[in-house]
């Protein structure tokens, strides 16, 4: 059974601060996806990383895939209240045929 552990579970910060969310596993994933979910809605895909060591940037968000493709991080620079939400990482194992294994999520609150 593949597991993804996210940390921290909860994060409450002030507007303008930086933060990093971690997603770790002992298993190798062929791809790893980051989602953001608002209350009462489905997860919305932010980015997919597929190559070990890959770094992708989406405005103030920076995503990194570990060299061994077992871990990933999401770094937000100068957080804004609009960044508030549940951040989920999800991994697809080799030959998993799209089955995603999700982490438990990081609930972020950015206070103005």
């Amino acid at each position: 059974t593949q597991l993804l552990e996210q940390s921290p579970q909860f994060l409450s910060i002030q507007e303008g601060e930086n933060l990093t969310v971690y997603c770790n596993s002992s298993s190798v994933f062929s791809s790893l996806q980051w989602y953001r979910q608002e209350p009462g809605e489905g997860p919305v895909l932010l980015v997919t990383v597929v190559t070990g060591g890959e770094v992708k940037k989406l405005k103030r968000l920076t995503f990194q895939f570990g060299d061994a493709r077992k871990d990933s991080s999401l770094h937000i620079t100068a957080a804004q209240p609009g960044d508030t939400g549940l951040y989920l990482c999800a991994g697809e194992a080799n030959n998993a045929g799209n089955m995603l294994t999700f982490g438990g999520g990081t609930r972020l609150m950015v206070k103005p």
Partner: protein
């Protein structure tokens, strides 16, 4: 271009009853996956349908079953409902074809099921 749609939005049932949830995939997608998301947790994979057949299944009992229709839409059925089945049920669609090593999944808004 319509995204993934799910119905109903909310549903309240009592223990022992049966429920059917519906999903229409994003245009151009042929694969539908279902996930269960308990309050405060990440989604858990239930099963996936492609070409009208169940292709993969997560660690869920046989009370959970599904179907995919020729137009790629899908249903999730849950029999003999338990209190613990209360959750947000998410449908995700993707395109299985092509040579990509991964296919991004797009999620619907979910159906909130409450079992009393």
């Amino acid at each position: 271009d319509a995204g993934v749609t799910q119905s109903p939005t909310h549903l309240i049932k009592t223990r022992g009853q049966q429920v059917t949830l519906r999903c229409s995939p994003k245009s151009g997608h042929d694969t539908v996956s279902w996930y269960q998301q308990a309050l405060g947790q990440g989604p858990q994979f239930i099963f996936q349908y492609y070409e009208e057949e169940e292709r993969q299944r997560g660690n869920f009992p046989d009370r959970f079953s599904g179907h995919q229709f020729p137009n790629y839409s899908s249903e999730l059925n849950v029999n003999a409902l338990l209190l613990g089945d209360s959750a947000l049920y998410l449908c995700a669609s993707s395109w299985r074809g092509g040579f990509s090593s991964y296919n991004e999944q797009f999620f619907g808004p979910g159906t909130r099921l409450t079992v009393l």
